[in-house]
């Protein structure tokens, strides 16, 4: 499957969902309507932290047009004492996130919801709900949250025997760092901060839910997993999963942020109460205030290196903001930080810190960019200290097949080394730089994931193919699945149509997340297609009255092989489909797998910047990503992932941040002042795809979607150092910060 003779794998085929998307026909989360539909709306906390003494909904309920009002009393409760794990979430936090229970934990936290015959009435009804708050002192930043006298968000969370905002820790150890540092010629220890950043998907959360008179719920919503929507909604409403049908809409971006529910359970309860279909759509402001960004962080990383360039010890301590409820991605930070390197002594420790801001949600390689930022900056400094090129240092210490990673695994064949090699020999590296221009590099790792996927491959009566999988397609997975199916069957790509099933029409499939979709569904589809090919060969054998073993499947035809070669005319897929009834009935096969062997992904990025030293503006003038992509089944969508990650990293590094006002409210809840990069901010983002096929996957696929966001933060920071001689230790490196540093640098001279 991995050879260059492939007809479809590796081809830039037209994406099946493309025409609908460019003509506006595609149905996104907010596009479904139903007769009798009414509008749901969330009432949100005006306080950053407050006890909810009581909620009086009577006035809202008596407003004409209001059909239902709900509070946390209507949502299934899970005691904070005992964890109830669902995927990477804990339902005791989920229930408190979708609707404040004992306390309002951040400004914008839902406290009640209404459904009414118009949006206007729903708005009015929200204003009529009377909430009696006891306003509490609040805390937003990590340093404030871990102080001994900090306001405590949850009395039931204890750390070192006392109520605390530290909700958990995670530690990885390998070797003995103490001894390791003794061997080092140079040791550098630095502290860093990063700010929370939002995933910035263009489509706000939206759903329509209809609960029928007999209690069956149908949910249309845009998410990263219809099965996640079904499971979470079931657990928050007590409707059994068999009575919930979750239908995935097209999705306008998720980047991890749509791996949890916000609206679906509320709309379900509102629909059940009102007997009407209920639609809910978040505004951008609600998205920015109340849906998950990724964590802000503070960290300290210490690394020791010998003069010959070998890194002998590495230590990292990370504090990550979880938002109001536990669950920051410390695993990503702590586990990925040192993963590209073969370092004998490693100690990485992470703390999960709650504070009065919206609960974080996954964001591409959750935690890993934070982990890598600190490490990749320190590597730049230790390289300089020993006078060695930072890429050479990375090459010398690169993890390879057989390396024992601090987070556990012994690597199989991986392609990290190749990414550094490619960077070292790329023409980008030779382009001369001008005044106030600089070049930086950094690397990154992400675990990637396997897990559950289902697929069904059916041959239509006219001999074409319909493939159904269970994952929302965010990055072009339908096109890649069609490439794989067409390749295996040896037929034209256009004859394969790929659909995404809902929870009632396809078997359980885990989230579109963890860079797992093409890896896992590729495996399931390969398995189903191979079963179909076996069936096709059996049918040809039956028609020819020979042994099925003596039939080959080639280029869309069954051909007699071995002793029978040439004895019969080949039978095409169309012919076999036409004769399906007489040869055993419909042709099709399904697979339901728990896939393993996803294996990590690695990347190295190279970035050139130019700084306007009078204004402090950093512009990215050149950018190249080098990534081990395993197998680029559809190169355009792999490149798209690499470019998208770099673009998001540029925003994170340079301008994106939440600005809080003096009351603990987000002051920039929109794209005007939450400054994600716009198109004209970016140069062409170049990509170099290195294909080191994953030995554990039939097509060699490795996850590619998340690694691209891991290296950019440090690559940019290191490039700014190259341009200005100034090292930054915090993000974003926005114009006022850069100008200030330039002036201080001048003053120091």
């Amino acid at each position: 499957m991995n050879d260059a003779n492939n007809k479809w794998i590796g081809k830039r085929t037209i994406r099946p969902d493309g025409a609908d998307k460019v003509t506006g026909q595609a149905t996104f989360g907010a596009d479904t309507t139903m007769p009798g539909m009414i509008w749901g709306k969330v009432l949100r906390s005006p306080h950053a932290h407050a006890n909810i003494r009581s909620i009086d909904t009577s006035k809202a309920e008596s407003l004409p047009g209001v059909k239902a009002v709900i509070t946390s009393a209507d949502v299934t409760n899970y005691s904070p004492e005992k964890s109830v794990i669902l995927g990477i979430q804990d339902m005791r936090w989920m229930t408190r996130n979708v609707m404040a229970r004992e306390k309002a934990l951040f400004h914008g936290h839902p406290v009640a919801a209404v459904a009414a015959t118009s949006q206007k009435i729903a708005d009015q009804a929200c204003k009529l709900i009377e909430v009696d708050y006891e306003v509490l002192p609040w805390v937003v930043e990590i340093d404030d949250a871990i102080k001994s006298d900090a306001p405590i968000l949850h009395e039931f969370i204890e750390f070192e025997g006392k109520p605390s905002n530290i909700a958990g820790t995670l530690e990885h150890k390998k070797g003995d760092v103490q001894t390791g540092f003794e061997e080092a010629d140079v040791i550098v220890e630095r502290s860093f901060t990063t700010r929370p950043v939002h995933q910035g998907y263009i489509e706000p959360h939206a759903c329509l839910v209809s609960v029928s008179a007999d209690g069956r719920a149908t949910i249309w919503s845009s998410s990263q997993g219809q099965f996640m929507v079904r499971a979470m909604t079931s657990m928050l409403t007590d409707i059994p999963q068999s009575s919930i049908r979750a239908i995935p809409a097209e999705i306008g971006g998720g980047f991890g942020g749509k791996t949890i529910v916000y609206l679906e359970p509320l709309a379900t309860i509102l629909s059940k109460k009102s007997g009407r279909p209920v639609k809910m759509v978040m505004s951008r402001e609600e998205v920015m205030r109340a849906s998950g960004p990724t964590s802000g962080s503070k960290s300290t990383v210490k690394m020791g290196i010998k003069k010959d360039g070998s890194i002998v010890a590495a230590q990292g301590t990370y504090y990550l903001q979880a938002g109001a409820l536990p669950g920051s991605p410390i695993r990503g930070a702590v586990g990925c930080a040192f993963a590209p390197y073969d370092i004998p002594n490693v100690h990485a420790l992470g703390y999960d810190v709650v504070s009065n801001r919206s609960k974080v949600a996954a964001y591409r390689a959750p935690g890993a960019p934070i982990g890598a930022f600190a490490v990749e900056c320190v590597i730049d400094e230790i390289s300089e200290a020993i006078g060695m090129d930072p890429l050479e240092v990375r090459l010398k210490n690169a993890a390879k097949e057989g390396t024992q990673a601090a987070h556990g695994p012994v690597y199989p064949r991986i392609g990290y080394y190749e990414t550094v090699e490619a960077a070292l020999s790329h023409p980008h590296r030779e382009i001369p730089l001008g005044k106030f221009q600089g070049r930086g590099v950094a690397s990154g790792f992400w675990f990637n994931a396997g897990g559950e996927s289902s697929s069904q491959v059916n041959i239509t009566e006219d001999g074409n193919v319909v493939v159904t999988t269970g994952h929302p397609d965010i990055g072009g997975s339908r096109a890649s699945i069609a490439n794989i199916t067409a390749e295996l069957l040896g037929i034209d790509y256009k004859r394969v149509s790929v659909l995404i099933g809902d929870t009632a029409t396809i078997g359980y499939s885990n989230l579109t997340g963890g860079s797992r979709v093409l890896f896992a569904s590729g495996m399931a589809v390969t398995d189903s297609t191979e079963k179909v090919i076996v069936s096709l060969k059996e049918r040809a054998a039956k028609i020819w009255d020979i042994d099925p073993e003596a039939v080959d499947w080639e280029d869309g035809y069954a051909r007699p092989a071995g002793a029978n070669a040439g004895m019969f005319d080949p039978l095409s897929l169309e012919e076999l489909a036409e004769r399906a009834t007489e040869t055993g009935g419909p042709i099709g096969a399904g697979s339901q797998l728990n896939t393993a062997g996803a294996e990590g992904g690695f990347a190295t990025h190279m970035c050139d910047v130019e700084v306007d030293i009078d204004l402090g503006i950093v512009r990215i003038i050149r950018y190249t990503s080098f990534q081990d992509v395993g197998r680029a089944v559809h190169p355009s969508y792999v490149e798209g992932q690499l470019q998208g990650g770099a673009a998001q990293g540029i925003g994170w590094a340079l301008n994106e941040e939440y600005i809080y006002d003096s009351e603990g409210r987000v002051d920039n809840p929109g794209f005007l002042d939450y400054r994600m990069p716009v198109c004209s901010d970016l140069p062409m983002l170049d990509t170099v795809m290195i294909e080191v096929p994953n030995p554990k996957h039939p097509q060699g696929v490795r996850g590619v979607g998340e690694v691209p966001l891991v290296p950019p933060l440090a690559a940019i920071r290191n490039a700014i150092y190259d341009a200005l001689g100034i090292r930054f230790y915090g993000l974003p490196m926005s114009p006022p910060v850069v100008l200030e540093a330039l002036e201080q640098g001048e003053a120091a001279e």
């Binding site: 204004l615 340079l654 301008n655 794209f671 114009p735």
Partner: protein, 289 residues
């Protein structure tokens, strides 16, 4: 939102009588790129909208004699760019209007809307101030002319009475050897609001600056004309020392706020930087190089 009445009169008199008849609860609609956004955000709730784009005088560009321009208040940036001469005479004003928003916004956004919206960060306003443009307004009691710099009186507030409509901008004729420029600082490259904006308009005779005017935006509650800057520039050869002093004069008149878009110290510093750069561009244009 309650019911909204929409009128699109074809004469100024009709517009004025409808607008003044509504006694403050009406709004003028030019491009709508501020108005509609504010209505959707629930910031304003007008009962009547008077669309002025069907009124010829408000929606056309005229060169009344060579080098003298009258630009209708609702003419969009893209329309103004189509005029063969305006952009040659007033490149700074045109570039200020046409860095607003994106292509779509520029097809709607007008000078009148930018000024009447009253934002201290409105991009075209410092360029209009530097150009010494005047605004013609019409109300129930007739017409009057106001220098643009006297229109803003506070954030979101103008000196127009609530029954007056902005009709057009008049740009004075200038001697040969004149040029203008506008620069703004934004962290991104577009789709952002000016952290500081600076408009400069100069006339040179040989190497000597004989006339100058500087407008600064986003550094005070209203767009400022920096009179001290003009005094320094006039009579000078735009030498480094003078420019440095002029930059200092700009910094000195800044009275900005610390907010999510910029800090006081950053805005103050940047005003001087933009002044220097805008002077250099305006001088180049004045010299025709």
């Amino acid at each position: 939102m309650s019911d909204i009445q929409y009128l699109a009169p074809t004469t100024l008199d009709e517009a004025v009588s409808a607008y003044s008849g509504a006694k403050g609860s009406a709004r003028i609609l030019a491009g709508g790129t501020d108005l509609l956004v504010q209505m959707r955000a629930g910031m304003i709730n007008p009962s009547l909208i008077v669309d002025i784009k069907k009124i010829e005088e408000i929606n056309t560009v005229r060169e009344t004699e060579k080098g003298v321009f009258v630009v209708g208040a609702s003419v969009s940036g893209m329309e103004l760019a189509k005029n063969p001469n305006f952009g040659k005479t007033w490149p700074g004003v045109l570039e200020a209007l046409n860095l607003i928003g994106s292509t779509q916004i520029q097809g709607r956004a007008s000078l009148g809307g930018n000024l009447c919206n009253g934002s201290p960060a409105g991009d075209s306003v410092p360029a209009l101030v530097a150009a010494k443009a005047t605004l013609t307004v019409q109300g129930p009691n007739g017409r009057r002319e106001i220098p643009v710099k006297e229109v803003p009186v506070g954030p979101g507030k103008t000196s127009l009475a609530d029954n007056e409509i902005a009709v057009s901008f008049s740009f004075p004729s200038r001697p040969p050897g004149s040029g203008d420029a506008y620069l703004r600082m934004i962290p991104r490259t577009e789709m952002d609001i000016a952290v500081v904006g600076c408009g400069v308009n100069l006339t040179l005779e040989g190497d000597i600056c004989t006339s100058a005017c500087v407008g600064l935006g986003a550094v005070a509650p209203i767009v400022l004309e920096v009179e001290g800057a003009a005094e320094l520039l006039i009579g000078s050869q735009l030498d480094e020392d003078t420019i440095e002093k002029t930059a200092e004069a700009c910094r000195a008149c800044c009275d900005p706020i610390d907010d999510k878009r910029g800090t006081i110290s950053y805005r103050t510093k940047v005003s001087g930087v933009l002044l220097k750069r805008a002077v250099a561009i305006a001088a180049k244009r004045a010299k025709g190089v």
